[in-house]
């Protein structure tokens, strides 16, 4: 029969209802994903880790020779903390687009889970948790590189896990929202070309957003990546100031405001 594509609005049906969550089962969903990841983690970490390392080399050591100072920092010091964030961002967004789409689509893993006491809300929360975990993991791997290069200047650097956590959560959520409306794998190309790559290039990792034309500076300022980098950089370099907390608050608020979205959207997409 007609398998009509639901309207975008009908995907939001039930948004005002309380989610049906059982945290032990959320955790069992998370563990399932971790179990699958544990089969291939060496290969996938290497794959995701090489890219920011190449950027660090090309930009930090190559280009950095010509850039003497940026906001009073060497270019390597300026760049490296941002690459921790972008490394996490890429890990999370790949997992929560291609990965989640496969699990909910042709593998029908979500369908298998909800045939048990697990609810669809549990499944999605487990996914968000897993996406966040992957961001933290890849961020941490790159963090160790940053430490090895002697770029981390203070034990406060360890606190970078906090902004990284919320940034990864936000990227999990945004990616799952896109996944909920994505008709096929091709549509993830748009997601990366339109949102993720521009964010990577313009949200303050490679140069301060002040260098952009004033009229468009608000654009990177709206991205989670920008706010994460603005917290992570001072922490890594040991140059903390109170104003950082605003960026952190922004990430926390964005997480809380958006977290209900993927739960209802994916549920409405899968359950008819």
């Amino acid at each position: 029969m007609q398998n009509t594509q639901p309207s975008r609005l009908s995907l939001l049906h039930g948004i005002s209802q309380k989610p049906d969550l059982s945290w032990p089962l959320v955790f069992s969903v998370f563990l399932r994903n971790l179990k699958v990841f544990s089969k291939t983690w060496v290969a996938t970490i290497m794959f995701n880790f090489v890219e920011p390392l190449l950027y660090l080399w090309a930009m930090g050591f190559g280009l950095g020779v010509y850039v003497t100072q940026i906001q009073g920092l060497s270019y390597l010091d300026f760049l490296a903390p941002g690459l921790i964030a972008s490394s996490a961002m890429f890990a999370t967004t790949y997992e929560m687009t291609y990965g989640s789409f496969t699990r909910m689509g042709h593998q029908k893993v979500f369908h298998g889970m909800v045939a048990t006491p697990v609810s669809m809300d549990d499944v999605l929360m487990g996914e968000i948790l897993y996406g966040t975990f992957k961001g933290l993991l890849y961020g941490f791997v790159f963090f160790t590189v940053v430490v090895l290069f002697g770029i981390a200047k203070s034990p406060l650097a360890l606190l970078a896990i906090i902004p990284l956590f919320f940034m990864s959560a936000v990227f999990s959520i945004i990616s799952l929202v896109w996944t909920a409306i994505a008709p096929n794998y091709d549509s993830f190309g748009y997601f990366f070309t339109l949102f993720i790559s521009p964010m990577f290039l313009f949200a303050g990792i490679f140069f301060p957003i002040d260098n952009l034309p004033p009229a468009i500076q608000f654009l990177p300022a709206m991205t989670p990546l920008y706010h994460a980098v603005e917290v992570i950089r001072p922490l890594i370099l040991g140059k903390v100031y109170w104003g950082m907390l605003i960026h952190l608050a922004w990430l926390v608020a964005l997480t809380l405001v958006t977290i209900r979205l993927p739960l209802v959207m994916v549920k409405n997409k899968l359950i008819k």
């Binding site: 069992s28 399932r32 699958v36 089969k39 593998q107 029908k108 298998g112 045939a115 048990t116 359950i271």
Partner: protein
């Protein structure tokens, strides 16, 4: 709780399309209850409501005495579900699939391992325990899916077309397991469009068509009621549709022996309680009247005939729609 599953005026609509239309049925404890019907009959839609995946549009549905809509978690903890499409964890091994699933039911590790071992041996999967699911054949995947549905020792096992797409050998292996479960007293709800599966496994069944229930009863009752014991198939030599006048001549010769009949292309099928006698009589009469016959065949009547009788369509048609009669 008188019944394991009780549905009253159960309805499922997708937009304006009604997939299940006010159906009533109840499944008793310990029986294997069948939903028989062609593709698109509404079997999966019904089953998905029963296991709480798809919201009930209207009507009443109680599963193990619980309202599945308001009490989904508790009800689902007592169900074992084999859905129509495979949804195993393809990257995990056979045993890991069972253990991960046990986690969703919050079984402790020790119980989960014991259960997994029991299931592996029951389903004949011990040799494959450490194989990655992706690499398994369709038959083995199905067996694992059924095994996985047993991990919580379910009160009701729900199977949506458990053997569709399997080769005959794999199908037989699945049937053996299901029959054994049935003998152990497991309550089962099984959908199928294979009449052989329904007649082999089901104690009682409903015949569904276009979202409605056409009939219900035991397989034997249904066959007896609608088509009797035997089917006499008469093949005419005509290339075209057989003329009604010819059909009537045969029916007249059969007289009261004819319980009912069906015209199927250039075949006439006559259902009767006394096949041998009728068969001989018709053969003689046709010879006397010099009507050439392509063939004549006597066989036991089946559920397929019941379905044909009720709908004028074949149950297991390759085009998925049911082959229409002329």
């Amino acid at each position: 709780m008188e019944f394991a599953i009780e549905a009253k005026k159960l309805t499922k609509r997708f937009g304006h399309f009604t997939a299940v239309n006010e159906i009533d049925f109840s499944v008793k404890y310990g029986e294997c209850f069948g939903l028989l019907g062609p593709n698109g009959a509404g079997k999966t839609s019904t089953v998905k409501m029963i296991y709480g995946f798809s919201p009930v549009t209207s009507g009443k549905l109680e599963v193990l005495g619980m309202d599945i809509m308001t009490n989904a978690r508790d009800a689902k903890s007592l169900l074992g579900i084999v859905s129509q499409e495979d949804n195993l964890d393809p990257e995990l091994t056979v045993r890991e699939n069972l253990l991960v699933y046990a986690g969703y039911f919050r079984l402790d590790r020790k119980t989960a391992r014991t259960r997994a071992d029991e299931i592996l041996s029951f389903m004949g999967l011990e040799d494959k325990a450490n194989d990655v699911v992706e690499n398994l054949s369709g038959g083995l995947k199905r067996r694992l899916t059924i095994g996985r549905a047993l991990i919580n020792d379910p009160g009701i096992l729900i199977l949506d077309e458990p053997t569709t797409g399997l080769d005959p050998h794999a199908r037989r292996l699945v049937w053996q397991r299901l029959r054994q479960l049935k003998e152990e007293g497991t309550t089962m709800l099984l959908t199928t469009h294979y009449l052989e599966e329904a007649s082999q496994l089901c104690d009682r069944l409903i015949i569904m068509h276009h979202g409605e229930i056409l009939e219900q009863g035991t397989p034997a009752e249904l066959v007896q009621k609608h088509v009797g014991r035997d089917a006499v198939e008469i093949g005419f030599t005509q290339k075209q549709k057989i003329p009604a006048e010819l059909v009537n001549r045969f029916l007249n010769w059969g007289g009261p022996l004819v319980k009912s009949h069906q015209v199927l292309g250039t075949d006439l099928i006559i259902f009767t309680q006394q096949g041998e006698f009728l068969s001989a009589k018709l053969r003689k009469q046709a010879a006397v009247a010099k009507i050439p016959l392509a063939y004549q065949n006597l066989r036991p009547a089946t559920l397929e005939d019941v379905f044909l009788k009720l709908t004028g369509e074949y149950l297991d048609a390759p085009d998925g729609k049911g082959r229409e009669l002329e």
